[in-house]
Symmetry: C2
Subunit: 424 residues, 2 copies
């Protein structure tokens, strides 16, 4: 029969298996970050190309398209590796999100074909690329949601929100380009623009809450040193305060695009730093767990089994508090500084603390998803824009003195009670 | 390169792997339920033996001890099988709880030795057995917490709370035996007794919230038909209302023990029904998932890859809502009634709904654990009994118009700010 020490070791092996899985998922996230950045650039160039009816950015698109394909090829290599291993916790949702992202990848050749033939409006092309990028970000979300280690979970939550914030910044770039290129201010677009700015800030706030001090410092340094932000803020003011239907200076399109693109590139550097940090953290955790496992295995080989059994008994009869105080006299005290009973209790407490931390990180992710889903319900049932739906949830929360999450959950809980949507 | 369908299948395989794991854990839970029942009986007999200074129950203990060992042997066989498989989600905590329970098992021979030599007080013997049973129940808790399927999770949450309620009923039996055998009413014991009654009711309430209609019906039928309850309620009234220090009729000890034991046996039958239901549910889910997997695999073999890829593209370019409407015309519509895009979306929605349900079940478990831990903090820092600590949390929640969980979380969050406990 196996001793408690065998199961103590099995618990550690189980942790290591989950760490290995999240480490592979982190590699995927790092390559996804590259791909999202490349797709965002393709979206920006496509926008210019289509808005100019094919006059601009044609060569740049061709060259960049090849780059995107290369990055996508690297992502697919990582995906293959991930798919061959046994899946960890929440494997089903991660794999399903990958299936969804792959469908997005496969849409790309056809999308480019239609775009190059000018058979697609700038808006439709942008929306298709937004969907493909959203599918990539969902993979990052699911990886973050499946993390089994609190420190890794925090870094993943930070990285996901940073990537989401950057994506909103990318959408803001496109919105601004559309506004300045058209040369006319529209109230509805302004509302969406302001919503994109506000949502970005929300994402970077969550990022700052969960990132490492080094990650936050880098981000703050970059925000402080970024002269692009001055240009962006000035053009935001011009674009977002003009009256409905008022003319906008078309010449502002180019400096807006340049400043936003430069900001996105700088953000991508931060992203790369965060991805590196994440992978380093995974390796570090794997190393620590591996060392702890070796120590436990060595103990298993050196300890005479009857002694292990006898000691367990005493602790249980005396009660755990006294049991934990045993080691000083015990045989194992000399070998490991702790009794087996102490080790089991220590590991139980550590796993409990870890779960509490992971639950905190996951609830932040869940909050985001719940509010997004509630927003979707309102957009559908009340025919609201994204920004207005968000504002309605926020305003309701303020009026009722409740959290936005509570309001969002209430909306989702009552959605079946509502009349059929006009869309369905 | 793999197609989205490959990952759709990988997601399903991942689900099946988790179902197999929870199915094995459910088998463990079923055998744990047998063991807990046997240990509870050993606790009751030990109590009579020690209180009578060895005059009573000696033969019964000897025979029953062999029965306990047999049941424990069966649990260990299941444990061996579980330990050899790759662990699923939360594997670490499940294995660690097993390590802890095994330590309890190993305490048993020594405990019996001391008991048989009358070297142990009835109280100490009871506390040691309470600890061993608690370790078994923690294994059930961790199994419930790691369930990946909402229907299985609900049955496990129901079964755990039923087992916990039954354990409190067992402790109540011992408390009553001690009171009647001693022949003196004590205020402190009365408070504990009332707490045990109230906590039992709480457990059975949660059980009723999560069990199947059949499980609840069985329980209600049994409660209605149980004549033991009349005896128990009468003796509860006598035991719990007598003034501090007032005499109790020693002759009541025997009918109290008989009625309580008969009730525990009846509860164990319900438990066995719940365990069977759980195992049947696991098999049913495995069968359904296996069938869905076969269907997807058949699709993978029959569909020409280029078509799969092309269809994915269209859906992404047109947007998901329109994409989902594609199948009627598509090639796959004829084969499966759905497009691959539709399958991925459907699976994503199903996994999301499952997660929401699982989170609900898990938060009920977490609530219990959090309140238990907060109670422990108060017992330690304020030198309160279990019942008084519970009442303090409940009263604070009522005064502040908050949930008990919120108060418990607040206590745990501020525990580090409190002065050192007198115990540590």
């Amino acid at each position: 029969m196996k001793t408690p020490l065998h199961y103590l070791i099995a618990a550690r092996q189980s942790e290591i298996a989950e760490l290995e899985q999240i480490s592979r998922a982190s590699t995927l996230v790092a390559s996804m970050s590259e791909l999202v950045h490349a797709l965002q650039k393709e979206r920006g160039l496509s926008n210019i190309f289509l808005v100019s009816s094919g006059a601009l950015a044609q060569q740049a698109l061709l060259a960049h398209g090849q780059h995107v394909d290369q990055v996508m090829g690297r992502v697919c290599v990582v995906l293959e590796e991930l798919g061959e291993r046994s899946p960890g916790a929440h494997g089903a949702r991660l794999f399903n999100s990958i299936a969804n992202a792959l469908q997005g990848f496969e849409a790309l050749p056809q999308l480019r074909h239609q775009r190059d033939a000018l058979q697609l409006s700038a808006e439709d092309c942008m929306q298709a690329l937004i969907r493909i990028i959203a599918a990539c970000l969902t993979v990052v979300y699911e990886a973050a949601d499946s993390a089994c280690d609190p420190d890794i979970a925090k870094l993943l939550v930070a990285l996901f929100h940073f990537m989401q914030g950057k994506e909103l910044a990318g959408q803001e770039r496109a919105t601004g380009v559309a506004a300045f290129t058209q040369g006319i201010s529209k109230a509805e677009r302004q509302r969406h623009w302001l919503h994109l700015i506000e949502s970005q800030d929300g994402c970077f706030q969550v990022f700052a809450d969960f990132a490492s001090p080094q990650g936050v410092e880098r981000w703050q340094q970059q925000c402080g040193a970024c002269t692009d932000m001055t240009v962006i803020e000035r053009l935001r003011r011009i674009g977002c305060t003009a009256a409905d239907g008022a003319p906008l200076d078309k010449a502002l399109s180019s400096p807006w695009f340049e400043a936003c693109s430069s900001r996105l590139d700088a953000m991508h550097q931060i992203e790369a730093f965060l991805a590196q940090e994440l992978q380093a953290q995974c390796l570090c955790k794997l190393e620590l767990s591996g060392a702890a496992l070796s120590q436990q295995q060595a103990l298993l080989e050196t300890l005479p089994e009857p002694l292990v059994r006898a000691e367990s008994g005493v602790a249980f009869i005396l009660g755990t508090a006294q049991g934990a105080a045993l080691p000083a006299e015990g045989v194992y005290g000399r070998q490991l500084g702790k009794s087996i009973v102490g080790l089991v209790q220590e590991q139980a407490a550590r796993l409990q603390d870890m779960q509490t931390e992971i639950d905190k990180a996951r609830s932040t992710l869940k909050e985001r998803k719940t509010i997004e889903r509630a927003k979707g319900v309102l957009m559908n049932y009340r025919q609201l824009g994204e920004g207005d739906a968000y504002k309605l949830i926020r305003q309701t929360a303020m009026n009722q003195n409740r959290r936005m999450l509570d309001v969002a959950e209430a909306i989702l809980a009552t959605v079946d009670l509502l009349p059929c949507s006009t869309n369905s």
